[in-house]
Amino acid sequence: MALLTEGPRHGYQLRAEFEARTGGTWPLNVGQVYTTLQRLERDGLVEGAGAADAEGRIAYVLTDAGRAQAADWFTTPVDKTSDPRDELSIKLALGVGMEGVDIAALVQAQRSATLRQLQDYTRLKRQADDAHDLAWELVLERLIFSAESQVRWLDHVESRVRRARRAEPASATAADTERVRS
């Protein structure tokens, strides 16, 4: 919908532009685009702009209501971006309470994997920067910042668990699980 603020587009154009501007991070099929357009038309947010072209495609424009909603979308903060029930948190919460799970090794393996991702994103960012592709660069930076924050969190987990283990060397169990979860 945001793309329609720039003028009339038909489904194929919307898909192509969306993917170009986000570097293909979120692939769309054209069916999804048309279903969405139909739903928006039903809700009075978009309307067809004139007749179909030679290939039978209809371009869509935003209605006034649609324009207002698109503006809203841009200015509304996104919440719940991090899900505490992700697999990594679960692995740690369970592992910390179990005999024979090497948390340091778990953390190190995850940190290496995340850093490798960070290296890949950084390479792509260099490429985007050289191509003056600001939109793609911003998407990559989002991935870079979140990978970085994961690394920092893993550093924190590691030192936190080390300290806890040192404090109660016999067995770090339920109490640690609770702390990681909270």
Partner: protein, 246 residues
């Protein structure tokens, strides 16, 4: 990662460094192996006290290992007299620290040319070579400024230019972005990356994962040992569609 066909610039073989004796003994590095080839930038991460600075001082010939060998461009440092070692250092190795990198009474181009002059080059030759090095870090325009007339990021770029001026091939950086805000730090890393792509090799100590990610490899030190090495999964060709080998 295809690095086999590139010249080795820096090498540590089984290097250990013990400080102090008896009860006060500290094993700062334990049996470390590390090789850097032409065009390679390697980042070193690890908690405080893990041996990162010790690694840099050994690689730069500022300190000698308790055991093991250090090679700079194929030359074993153990074979050199103190005097030869100092000359080797001046010609081959440049440092970039967190701050206090430049001499405040010299302009940018004079700072960059200083190691050449100390090594016997004429003032004119030193200036010409220094200007070329400043061009490599995109600072030609500021050549005649004094350090206090430049931003922190620009000063670090001058330090990078000096580290790799003329025949110098080895850049050793200890938290070079530590005193900069994150955006400026990133700009310095971008310049450093481009500069190393042109030749030489660099070792970068940093605690910032985002900055480390500019390196070809990230090495983890813990209690004086390399515990892990991370290299980008995808080849540069796959990511960038160029012929660059990494």
């Amino acid at each position: 990662m295809n690095t086999a066909d590139r010249a080795v610039v820096l090498e540590l073989r089984g290097v250990s460094r013990v400080h102090g004796e008896g009860a006060a003994e500290v094993h700062a590095l334990r049996d470390v192996d590390l090789t850097l080839v032409e065009g390679e930038l390697v980042a070193v991460m690890g908690p405080s006290g893990s041996g990162k600075s010790t690694l840099l001082t050994l690689l730069g010939g500022l300190d000698r290992p308790t055991s093991g060998e250090v090679f700079i461009e194929g030359q074993s440092l153990a074979d050199l007299s103190t005097k030869k070692l100092a000359a080797m250092r001046r010609r081959s190795v440049g440092y970039v620290f967190q701050d206090l990198n430049l001499i405040p009474t010299l302009t940018a181009v004079e700072n960059v040319g200083l190691p050449l002059e100390l090594d016997g080059a004429s003032r004119r030759t030193a200036r010409r070579t220094a200007l070329k090095s400043l061009e490599d870090v995109e600072l030609m325009d500021l050549a005649d400024r004094f350090p206090d007339e430049m931003s922190g990021g620009q000063q670090q770029r001058v330090a990078i230019a000096r580290a790799l001026v003329g025949p110098r091939r080895v850049l050793l950086a200890d938290e070079p972005t530590g005193a900069l805000d994150s955006q400026t730090g990133e700009a310095v890393l971008r310049v450093l990356r481009r500069r190393i792509d042109r030749g030489g090799a660099g070792l970068l100590v940093t605690h910032d994962a985002r900055h480390a990610a500019w390196a070809d490899r990230i090495v983890f030190l813990r209690d004086g040992q390399i515990t892990d090495t991370t290299a980008s999964e995808l080849s540069a060709e796959a990511l960038l569609g160029t012929g660059r080998h990494v």
